[in-house]
C-alpha cells in the first residue's frame, strides 16, 4: 500500500496517511519502545550475567535467596486464591443480582488501583501495627500481623484486589443470566449450576485475571516494603531482597533475582498474549490492568 505518485493507481488508498508519515510513526514507536521498554529488560539479564552464568546461578542458591523465593511463592499461593475467590464472589454478586449502590460497590473494588502501594502498606501498619489496639492485642496473643507473613499477604491482597473481579464482571455481564436460569429450571442446585454452567463460561477470563494477579503478587514492592520490616531470611520477599542486595552493591546477586522475576513477567506476557489470541471472545473486550 502506497500513496507515492509512482505507485500503481489501484494500490492507492483514499484514507491512509502518506507513506513517509506512516514509516516515521512506526520509527518513533519502535525507537520509543526500544529505549523505554526493551533496553531495561535487556539490562536486567546483561547485569545478571556480567560475571557469567555460574555466578548468577550461584547467587540464586544461597540461603537468603532461597528463603526469599520460598516466601514469594508462599505469598502468591495464599493471596492469589484469596483474590480469585473474592473475584468470583464479587462478580457473581454484581452480575447476577440487582441492587442499589452497584456502581458505588464497583468503585470501591477499584479503589486499590488508585491508592499508592506505600499508602496501602501504611494503612495496614496503622490497623494491625503494635501501636494500634487491635495490633497490640494480636501481638500479645502471639499472632503478629505487621512485620510477619499475614501482613505481607494482606498488603499483597490489597494491591491486587481488583484484578480478578475486573476481568470477570464484563464477561459475566455479556453472558447474561439465561444459561444459569435454564439450569435452575432443569432442577440443578446452585452449586451445580455454578460448576457446570458458569465456570466453563468464565474459565479463560478467570485464568487471565489470575495470571495478572499472580504477576503483581510476586512482584509487589512498595506495600510489602512498608509492612514486612525487611527481616532477612524471614520477611524479605524476592523484590525486598533485590533492594537489599542492590543497596549492598551486590549487583550480580540483585540482578540474578531480578532476572528470575523478569522471566516470570515474560512468561506472564506470553501466556496473556496466547490467551488473547486464542480466547479473545471469552475475555473482556475492554482493557484492564
Amino acid at each position: 500500500m502506497s500513496d507515492t505518485p509512482l505507485a500503481p493507481l489501484q494500490f492507492r488508498s483514499a484514507i491512509a496517511e502518506p507513506r513517509a508519515a506512516r514509516w516515521a510513526l512506526i520509527g518513533i514507536v519502535v525507537l520509543g519502545l526500544g529505549v523505554l521498554l526493551f533496553a531495561p529488560l535487556i539490562a536486567v539479564f546483561a547485569e545478571a550475567l556480567t560475571r557469567g552464568w555460574a555466578a548468577a546461578l550461584a547467587s540464586l542458591g544461597n540461603r537468603d535467596a532461597r528463603a526469599a523465593i520460598k516466601l514469594t511463592l508462599t505469598i502468591a499461593a495464599i493471596s492469589v486464591p484469596l483474590n480469585a475467590a473474592f473475584g468470583i464472589a464479587a462478580a457473581w454478586f454484581i452480575t447476577k443480582f440487582d441492587f442499589r449502590g452497584k456502581a458505588f460497590l464497583i468503585t470501591l473494588i477499584d479503589l486499590p488501583f488508585s491508592v499508592s502501594p506505600v499508602v496501602a502498606g501504611l494503612c495496614i501498619v496503622l490497623m494491625f501495627g503494635a501501636n494500634s489496639a487491635l495490633g497490640g492485642w494480636l501481638v500479645a496473643s502471639g499472632y503478629p500481623v505487621v512485620f510477619a507473613l499475614p501482613g505481607i499477604v494482606l498488603a499483597t491482597v490489597f494491591v491486587t484486589f481488583p484484578f480478578v473481579a475486573r476481568e470477570l464482571i464484563p464477561v459475566m455481564v455479556e453472558q447474561g443470566r439465561a444459561e444459569e436460569e435454564a439450569a435452575l429450571t432443569l432442577g440443578a442446585s446452585g452449586a451445580r449450576t455454578f460448576l457446570t454452567v458458569t465456570l466453563p463460561n468464565i474459565r479463560w477470563a478467570l485464568l487471565y485475571g489470575v495470571l495478572l494477579c499472580n504477576a503483581r503478587a510476586m512482584g509487589e514492592f512498595g506495600a510489602v516494603a512498608v509492612v514486612s520490616g525487611k527481616i532477612r531470611g524471614q520477611t524479605a520477599s524476592i523484590p525486598i531482597t533485590i533492594e537489599m542486595l542492590y543497596n549492598e552493591y551486590l549487583s550480580v546477586a540483585a540482578f540474578s533475582l531480578a532476572a528470575l522475576l523478569a522471566m516470570l513477567g515474560l512468561i506472564t506476557l506470553l501466556l496473556k498474549t496466547i490467551l488473547e489470541l486464542r480466547h479473545a471472545d471469552q475475555i473482556a473486550a475492554t482493557y484492564h490492568h
Binding site: L36, V115, S116, V119, L122, F161
Partner: protein, 278 residues
C-alpha cells in the same frame, strides 16, 4: 414504597457471594483505609496541616505531582501514537511490540527500578552517552521522569487502542469526500473521538505515577528537597516510627488519589453524555 435494596432473584448464592464480597472488601480495603482516616482524625486537622506544611514535605508532594503530570503528558502523546500504529499499520514485529507494551504491568517495579538505574547511571549504557553530551539522568529529576514514563506507558495505549479499532472506516471516508485533507480529518474527526479514552488513560497513568515507589527510588537519588518523592517520605517516617507524620502525608496523597478517581468518573460521564458512548 421505595425501591427495594436488593431485587428478588431466582439466582442462588446471594448470601454467600454478598457475604464474601462485603467481608473481604471491608477487611482488606475499607477498614485499613478507615484506620488511616481515623488516625488522621485523632491527630487533628491542624496537626496534619503543620506536618504537611514543611518545605521538605511540600517539595516532595510538588515533585511527585509535577513529574507525574509531565510523565503522564508524555505518555498521553506517545500512547496515542502507539495505539494508532498498533491498530492501523501492519509491519513485521507488530505483534511483539503489541505484547511488549504491557511489560510495565508484568515486570515488578523493583526490577524495573534497578534496571533503569543501571542503564542511566553515569557508567551505564545510556548514562555514559548522556554524560558525553553533558547530561546527568540518574539521581536527578530526569531519572524520576523516565521511571514514571515507564510505569505509566501502557495506560493510554490500552484505553485508546480499542477505540481506534472501532472507528468506522466510513467516517474517515466521508470526511475525505467532503474535501478534508488527511491531517484535517485526523485533527477534527479522529482526535475528538479518541479524546475521552485518552483522558481516561491519562488519569490512570497520572494516578499510578503519583503513588509509584519501587521503580523510582533506585534512580532518584533521594536527596531531600530535590529528588525525594512523596511515597518515599512516608517510608522514611515509618522507619523512624513517626506514625503521625506518615499518616498526615498519607492522607494528603489519599486525597489526591480520590480527586483523580473522581476526575476519571467525571470524564466518563461527560463523554457519555456528549457523544453517547465512552
Amino acid at each position: 414504597m421505595g425501591r427495594p435494596l436488593i431485587h428478588r432473584s431466582p439466582m442462588p448464592g446471594l448470601g454467600l457471594s454478598m457475604g464474601i464480597t462485603i467481608t473481604m472488601l471491608s477487611l482488606v480495603v475499607l477498614l485499613p483505609i478507615g484506620a488511616l482516616l481515623w488516625k488522621g482524625a485523632s491527630f487533628g486537622l491542624g496537626n496534619i496541616w503543620e506536618t504537611v506544611n514543611r518545605p521538605r514535605v511540600w517539595a516532595a508532594l510538588y515533585l511527585s505531582f509535577r513529574l507525574s503530570l509531565l510523565a503522564a503528558l508524555f505518555n498521553l502523546v506517545f500512547g496515542v501514537v502507539l495505539a494508532w500504529v498498533l491498530a492501523r499499520y501492519r509491519f513485521a514485529g507488530r505483534r511483539i511490540l503489541d505484547a511488549t507494551v504491557d511489560l510495565p504491568f508484568a515486570l515488578p517495579t523493583a526490577v524495573a527500578g534497578i534496571a533503569l538505574a543501571a542503564l542511566y547511571a553515569p557508567n551505564g549504557a545510556f548514562g555514559s552517552l548522556a554524560k558525553e553530551l553533558g547530561f546527568t539522568i540518574a539521581y536527578t529529576q530526569w531519572g524520576i521522569f523516565i521511571a514514571l514514563i515507564f510505569v505509566g506507558l501502557p495506560f493510554v495505549t490500552r484505553t485508546v487502542q480499542p477505540v481506534v479499532e472501532e472507528i468506522e472506516r466510513e467516517v474517515e471516508e466521508v470526511s475525505a469526500t467532503l474535501g478534508a485533507s488527511r491531517l484535517y480529518t485526523i485533527m477534527r474527526v479522529i482526535m475528538p473521538m479518541l479524546t475521552p479514552a485518552a483522558l481516561t488513560g491519562f488519569a490512570l497513568a497520572l494516578a499510578r505515577a503519583v503513588g509509584e515507589y519501587g521503580s523510582v527510588i533506585f534512580i532518584a537519588g533521594n536527596i531531600p528537597l530535590r529528588t525525594e518523592i512523596a511515597p518515599l517520605l512516608i517510608v522514611i517516617q515509618l522507619e523512624e516510627f513517626n506514625y503521625d507524620a506518615a499518616s498526615a502525608i498519607g492522607i494528603a496523597m489519599l486525597l489526591i488519589s480520590f480527586a483523580m478517581l473522581l476526575a476519571i468518573n467525571l470524564i466518563q460521564v461527560w463523554s457519555r453524555r456528549r457523544i453517547g458512548y465512552v
